[in-house]
């Protein structure tokens, strides 16, 4: 029940020192960075307890529209955030806090000898690309169009993580995934330079929610995400600044 978090925040002092529980719904690709951010905030805002629920952006919006009790929403694209805005669950204007670009990822050692985007058209290579209808797929399509390449994928993943783990396991010879995901896989994945990759970017918006039980806490968290602590941590994970 949603009464808990409201009660936890003492309304009298709220405007001074944000405290109590803040529930953040965040896109799955933000998992690692946001967990770090919570640890960081623990030192500056010891009274703030941050609880995350990670999921796909569209699933999170669906949950909100069904009355999920939460304070903050962070999605991996603007389309889903726009749905939330249209649904009236967002308080104020969403703010872009990070950007992501695509990388051409190959397994460690590059067994397929991939040298550039053009290799994605090679039928003999096993290629994973995101489904065009999802954010990373849309971005991939734009990148490929710009390079004039018609890819021959073997699988269209719905989730970037899938493509990333296929590369990490060596099952795919190449995949177009976000830079952050490539970074998260560590040594198992290498990236091949793609010229002009920075031209295609995805925006990550964050917003305080209209029914937030703890609006003060929510604002403090959003400030942290968009402010200095977020910039540092997100930068480490490979995100670009907005």
């Amino acid at each position: 029940d949603d009464g808990d978090s409201a009660a936890a925040a003492d309304p009298g002092e709220a405007s001074q020192v944000p405290s109590g529980r803040v529930t953040v719904l965040a896109a799955a690709s933000l998992t690692e960075s946001f967990e770090h951010l919570a640890d960081e905030l623990q030192t500056t805002h010891p009274d703030l307890e941050i609880v995350y629920s990670f999921g796909s952006s569209s699933g999170l919006v669906e949950q909100l529209l069904s009355g999920a009790p939460a304070d903050v929403l962070a999605t991996a694209d603007t389309t889903t955030m726009d749905e939330a805005v249209a649904g009236g669950v967002v308080d104020g204007e969403p703010r872009i806090f990070a950007r992501n670009t695509l990388a051409l990822a190959v397994p460690a050692g590059n067994p397929g000898n991939v040298t550039g985007l053009a290799d994605l058209a090679n039928e003999d290579l096993r290629v994973a690309i995101c489904e065009p209808q999802v954010p990373c797929g849309g971005a991939a399509q734009r990148l490929l169009d710009a390079a004039g390449v018609t890819a021959a994928p073997d699988t269209l993943t719905t989730d970037v993580k899938e493509a990333a783990s296929l590369v990490a396991l060596g099952e795919a010879d190449a995949a177009l995934i976000y830079l952050t995901d490539a970074a998260a896989e560590g040594d198992a994945v290498e990236t091949v330079d793609v010229p002009d990759a920075e031209d295609v970017v995805s925006d990550y918006p964050v917003a305080v929610l209209a029914d937030a039980p703890n609006p003060e806490g929510a604002r403090a968290v959003v400030d942290a995400i968009t402010g200095e602590p977020g910039r540092v941590i997100l930068g480490e994970a490979g995100f670009l600044e907005p």
Partner: protein
Amino acid sequence: MNPTRRTEDLRVPAGLLIPAALGVAILVLPMAGLVVRAPWSDLPSILASDEVLTALRLSLVTATVATAAALACGVPIAWLLARTTLPGRSVLRGLVTVPLVLPPVVGGVALLMVFGRRGLVGGWLYDTFGISLPFTTEAVVLAQVFVAMPFLVVAVEGALRTADRRYDDVAATLGATSWTTFRRVTLPAVTPGVLAGAVLCWARALGEFGATVTFAGSFPGTTRTLPLEAYVAINSGDSDVAIVLSLLMIAVSVTILVGLRERWIGTA
């Protein structure tokens, strides 16, 4: 001692009816929700689209092949578990039911580790024969077998344990080999259980998503089954399409389950 109408034979004790009604509500109401929310006007155009038809065909074919394979392998496993005194039998039972608890995505990763190009078995297959399973329709079937066969095994084992073993003894005294006994005496006796298990297995295979998407990937025509199609729709914010696809799956499976006429499920 009240003379009652013949039809009142249907009277059911409240102790059974109330929980049953509650259970039916839990199971059926969400489906009603889907029906209410479905975009009925767009329905024909969505259903007639090429992708949907392709995915539907692929789903039906793979689920059916997977069920056949699961029957071929799963019924013997159930028999081993129920009728022999194999040492370590209860550990085997535990192992065989593992895929039930494994979150399907993890199951997919596990399948990749074994049958993938660099996997234990897959690596050998690839190096020796140049065969690579992932991203093929065969991989979809394998993922479905992995996920759905345990249902069959558990259901059939339950049925075998309920059946009277003395018939097997009689068959043996009549000179039947254990294979003949199995085929002509044991199996017919547990047909309802086998059918129930096959239905579970088929339904589970039809709805299988996580292991498939991880192990077999998602490519229209070869590996993108209906649930994958629905998942794509949800993730691209098209929940209307997802609802329609789900209703389609429901319609197909209910038709088949209802079509499995009473007498197939067995008369006692």
